[in-house]
């Protein structure tokens, strides 16, 4: 199997989908001739033409609004929003229109389409090239939200999204686009091996990214996106301290895989949930509330959150803002040693 990074995996999925279905069109800012600022659409315009790989004017509401029209008409638009920080001019089109079309039309006007957008920090992007707004979309009923953490899932989830009958938002972990950690690449990583051709990763299913070793106090650590690799690192360090981490990669936020969460937490009795976004009303809080409602009797300790701070995302001090292995370890210890 070829080794791919996440960008290549996304590009491969789009290429396969466009070759297989003439209704698939890609649109967004600089996605055509330039191939996208992160190069995810490189080569597609040469291959499929300017009519199917569209360099749009600079207007997110226009990108999503016109994509909705295409979707209603029967095309399969894949809209790219250059950075998820810039998705908000299209927020009304996404949450008031796209999310509600099937419902408000009594099922007469479904609008399957895909929105791809890079999210999260770690590339020294400051306020506006680092945000993680997924919770503000998950809150509005009607949007499937997924967040892959590796090349294999990035391709498989995108192909699944392209086959879904629902609108799907794909939050791509830009920090690890090219490698699981700074200065590394995906070759070495098992999920860097991406099968050629078509396959899908089921929407709504989480994955155990790291099973329990059986040695030490068991703790369930739940996250998604780029935080998966940070959590994996923390889990390795925790092991040295006798904390045995089961790492769950949610992969899908809406719908989320409640059985997987409950199965693990009822086994371990301890949980830490992490996300990069601010704490207040973030997705980690939702998971903690679910654990509360479904695993209370099994809990040995209160589930803890490790999140970004409730401030805008900084530039120089980004390293201090992002949840790091140290903060994760502190939380893991707290729940492991809770008494």
């Amino acid at each position: 199997m070829p080794a791919m990074n996440i960008i290549q995996a996304v590009n491969d999925a789009l290429d396969l989908a466009m070759a297989a279905d003439p209704n698939v069109v890609v649109l967004g800012e600089d996605v055509g001739k330039f191939g996208g600022v992160f190069r995810a659409t490189v080569g597609l315009q040469e291959k499929y033409g300017e009519d199917r790989v569209i360099d749009t004017p600079l207007a997110e509401a226009g990108i999503i609004g016109t994509a909705i029209g295409m979707g209603l008409y029967g095309l399969r638009p894949v809209a790219e929003i250059q950075f998820s920080d810039f998705i908000f001019p299209a927020y009304d089109q996404i949450v008031n229109e796209l999310a509600k079309y099937r419902y408000r039309s009594g099922g007469e006007y479904p609008c399957p389409m895909v929105i791809r957008t890079p999210f999260g920090g770690g590339i020294r992007g400051g306020h506006y090239h680092s945000q993680s707004p997924e919770a503000t979309f998950a809150h509005h009923a009607g949007l499937v939200c997924v967040a892959p953490s590796n090349p294999y899932d990035a391709k498989g989830l995108l192909l699944a999204a392209l086959e879904s009958e629902d609108p799907v938002m794909v939050f791509e972990p830009k920090r690890i686009y090219r490698g699981p950690a700074h200065g590394t690449n995906w070759n070495s990583h098992p999920k860097g091996n991406v099968p050629e051709g078509h396959y899908t990763v089921p929407i709504g299913k989480a994955e155990i990214a790291r099973p329990l070793s059986g040695k030490g106090i068991p703790v369930t650590l739940i996250t998604y996106g780029a935080m998966v690799e940070t959590c994996r690192e923390a889990a390795q360090k925790a092991a040295e301290e006798g904390i045995d981490v089961e790492l769950i990669d949610l992969r899908s936020l809406v719908p989320y895989d409640l059985p997987a969460i409950v199965e693990s937490v009822t086994r371990t009795g301890r949980a830490v949930v992490a996300n990069e976004a601010p704490q207040t009303c973030g997705f980690a809080g939702e998971i903690v509330a679910l654990i509360m409602e479904h695993c209370f009797d099994w809990l040995e300790a209160p589930p803890l959150r490790v999140t970004g701070y409730d401030t805008p995302f900084p530039y120089t001090l980004e390293y201090a803002y992002l949840p790091d292995t140290g903060r994760l370890l502190t939380a893991l210890r707290k729940v492991a040693r809770y008494a």
């Binding site: 419902y103 039309s105 409640l258």
Partner: protein, 385 residues
């Protein structure tokens, strides 16, 4: 305007015409006999009858809302030509995005009156399953897209449909209706600009009826004509007398031809007046004068058309009386029928959020059923309005 068939490329940017396109003047004179002859007079009679029926429906439904039989209603009185004209001018394959003030676009295409009223009541036969307020219906069989409350959102969506038509080369055009107030939203700008760049076969039909709820035109914008904005997008612009049914048909025909010939989009500004209150929640006395209203009533699109029909022996007072009674009986019968029907099944609350219910939604549906079974719900699960 002269010949819309010359490719815009030929003569620089597409034309933007602001002196109102007019065919049958308020004083009865025919400006463009050639065009008038091109349309079967019987069709005009049918259109008049349909617009008259619409006015009767609006009149009755407002009364019914006052009597508490409808939760909400919104009329198009005085603006009928802006819905029935375009519906007539276009082909059934063309897609339409109405605002909330153009029921005519679907009714003209055969959307059943009963279905329309079922939506006003929100019963089990409402095509949108009682999920939206009255006047927010959907008519898939007529290629009329789901109505949304947020204004302007449909404009870029219409451009997207038009792009799809162009990509498939299937010869369709897509039209979006909106008010002059709505033209202030950012979605107006992005929708027209995208359509311009793409030369998409879209028609943006702006009903300039003078008000956005209480907000008069001069507080909406400082431009004398919304149609002037076409300059800013490199698309065709055309002002039309919105109370002149013939002129509206002509303007939309020309815009459709322009689009089908590959020249792109047109912004039509129809000058009309919102004779009705904004909705049953509104009272115009608070913000406009009786004189102003009366002046516009004299320009009424139906009153203007009737002498023309009568001169051709296609209409008379008896026909008026009869048609009025037919429409009145029909709408009241439809309402009575609609009121007999139960609410949509409570379980429908959980359908159509996604193609299939998620586990969370199914769990919520089950919990509601248990809640109802417990008999503790602070309401009865079904029952007619």
């Amino acid at each position: 305007m002269s010949d819309t068939r010359t490719p815009s490329s030929a003569g620089g940017p597409p034309p933007v015409v602001i002196e109102p396109l007019s065919v049958l003047r308020a004083d009865g004179t025919v400006v463009d006999p050639e065009f008038v002859e091109s349309i079967p007079a019987e069709d005009i009679a049918r259109l008049y009858e349909a617009m008259l029926a619409q006015r009767v429906y609006d009149d009755r439904m407002i009364k019914m809302q006052r009597q508490g039989r409808l939760g909400f209603y919104l009329a198009c009185t005085g603006e009928e030509a802006c819905a029935y004209g375009p519906a007539y001018a276009l082909e059934d394959r063309d897609w339409m995005f109405p605002a909330y003030r153009e029921p005519g676009v679907a009714l003209w295409r055969g959307f059943p009156l009963q279905t329309w009223v079922d939506n006003l009541v929100g019963n089990c036969d409402d095509p949108v399953k009682g999920r939206q307020m009255p006047v927010h219906w959907t008519a898939r069989a007529q290629n009329v897209v789901s109505i949304s409350s947020p204004v302007g959102t449909q404009i870029p969506q219409c451009a997207g449909v038009a792009y799809g038509m162009k990509l498939r080369g299937d010869g369709g055009v897509s039209i979006c209706f909106f008010g002059e107030g709505t033209s202030s939203e950012g979605d107006f700008h992005v929708g027209l600009n995208f359509a311009g760049v793409w030369k998409a076969p879209a028609i943006f039909f702006c009903r300039n009826n003078g008000y956005a709820i209480s907000t008069p035109y001069e507080k909406t914008t400082a431009t004398p004509h919304i149609a002037l904005r076409a300059h800013g997008y490199g698309i065709r612009g055309q002002v039309v007398d919105g109370n002149d049914l013939f002129a509206v048909i002509k303007a939309v025909r020309e815009a459709a031809d322009w689009g089908r010939l590959g020249h792109g989009a047109t912004l039509i500004e129809a000058k009309t007046y919102r004779v009705a209150a904004h909705s049953t929640s509104d009272d115009p006395k608070a913000y406009r004068s009786r004189e102003e209203e009366d002046e516009w009533k004299s320009k009424d699109p139906l009153a203007r058309l009737r002498p023309w029909l009568e001169a051709r022996k296609l209409w008379d007072e008896d026909a008026e009386q009869a048609a009025t009674k037919v429409a009145s009986d029909a709408i009241l019968a439809a309402l009575a029928e609609a009121e007999k029907k139960p609410h949509p099944g409570i379980d429908t609350l959980f359908d159509d959020v996604f193609a299939e219910r998620t586990p969370l939604i199914q769990a919520q549906a089950d919990a509601l059923q248990a809640h109802l079974a417990s008999g503790e719900a602070a309401y009865k699960p079904t029952g007619s309005h």
